[in-house]
């Protein structure tokens, strides 16, 4: 499978393979990413040259890279990729405590005048996206900003919507949506967990 991540799942056995009951399994994730890549190519009618995929760490960053790789595979156009760490822009530091910062990396030419597509794993309250928009504002002036997410689980607290959605997942507020990716967690899967279920390692919790 061309879209499969290179991580050797055998060496990451400790973290566990995708158990039955996952909302999305590894093949599902690959399919969803492929579909989103096609949508991006269709919508970017003005040409892919000024497109930049900017991932929101932690799991938005590898997603952006995968998406870019698929867009390139389907269109033949190389795509710029970046990451923007939003930790210092969050409005919930007081509640959640400090965390280690991650990289902010932009293409050499910057983002001025370009089409920036923010990439994240889960869209929930919208606060991460707001923080990312604030961070982008300090980094340059894109022509337009769009949003791509692997999972949209609803419960927005801000007037934000995604332009590209891998999968809409109706959830209750108390549930958690856990995204695991090979690059960060050793395996691709998405699952919905109930509040009482213990967290399975450090997985991408919907923010």
């Amino acid at each position: 499978m061309a879209g499969s991540p290179p991580a050797a799942s055998s060496s990451r056995e400790a973290r566990g393979p995708a158990a039955p009951g996952a909302l999305l399994t590894a093949p599902d994730v690959a399919r969803v990413v492929d579909r989103m890549a096609h949508q991006l190519i269709e919508k970017a009618a003005n040409g892919l040259a000024d497109l930049v995929l900017v991932g929101i760490p932690t799991r938005g960053a590898p997603l952006a890279r995968r998406l870019a790789a698929r867009v390139t595979a389907f269109s033949g156009t190389p795509i710029d990729v970046g990451t923007v760490d939003i930790t210092l822009y969050r409005d919930d530091l007081r509640l959640r405590g400090v965390r280690a910062l991650e990289d902010t990396v932009l293409p050499a030419g910057g983002i001025d005048g370009r089409l920036v597509v923010l990439v994240d794993d889960v869209l929930f309250s919208g606060r991460s996206v707001r923080a990312a928009l604030d961070a982008l504002r300090d980094l340059g002036r894109p022509r337009a900003v769009q949003l791509a997410v692997l999972v949209d689980r609803g419960h927005r607290e801000l007037p934000i919507r995604a332009d590209y959605v891998g999968k809409n997942v109706p959830t209750s507020r108390g549930q958690s949506v856990r995204v695991r990716l090979a690059e960060t967690d050793g395996v691709d899967e998405v699952r919905v967990t109930e509040p009482e279920e213990p967290a399975a390692g450090t997985t991408g919790e919907a923010r």
């Binding site: 760490d85 969050r90 919930d92 530091l93 007081r94 959640r96 405590g97 400090v98 910062l101 300090d138």
Partner: protein, 306 residues
Amino acid sequence: MKRHLLEAGDLDRVDATLVLDTAAQIEAALTGREVKKLPTLRGRTVVNLFYEDSTRTRISFELAAKRLSADVINFSAKGSSVSKGESLKDTALTLEAMGSDAIVIRHGASGAPHQLASWVRGSVVNAGDGTHEHPTQALLDAYTIRRRLGRLEGVRVAIVGDVLHSRVARSNVVLLHTLGAEVTLIAPPTLLPVGIGSWPAEVSYDLDAVLPKVDVVMMLRVQAERMTASFFPSAREYSRRYGLDARRMAVLGDEAIVMHPGPMNRGMEIAADVADSVRSTIVEQVGNGVSVRMAVLYLLLGGAPS
């Protein structure tokens, strides 16, 4: 991270590395940007409570707090109620009642930040207390070394000068040891404290013997008034035995760097041509100070302990 940063010993290796990494990330995030400001500490109030004049350190902390969008209040001992005899405790409680989230304190008395921390709920950052410690200076020094040399583990550092009265030396010995560097302290015996044997550092009286073996030479400020108290016979003799001049700099290894926490006594502990050489990180240290202090403020104030 603990709630306060009172001395270098408050940081274990993980925390100290976190501060340095965070500083590097912040520096990278702000490099080349038009808007050198982050919204992280919006609505937080940082008080710079300075009982000693130190424009350099105060400005560095002020800039760090402002770049994180905190509100900054500078409270200097001169021209304030402090000079009318208000006690440190009353001042601290007043500042807290006004809603300060963190107090950055510079004080001539060793231990004043520790006492302050016992009286207030907010975070306390030691910006230099008496002859005790100056932990953010040590952090920025470690940061500078790591940037220049790419590592701290096994780096050989010579700290030269008035160790006895130096809070910079105390903090650096502790922090550099925590981070895996090897420290040698060099001074006339009169300027080394009794009890130095318990420090995690080597001691030498001979600068020329040590210089060829080190990666970093950190020169400490030596105040001329020490001469009147017979810590050494004359500025000339001090400079001759313990000053860093071009001749001595020439025996350093190719990659070795020269540091100074400032302010310098050019011609006393460091020759002008050394201070201005390519080996010198003195100006760089100042810039790194802002990034490191941003990291400290972010990590102490960013949120509840996780």
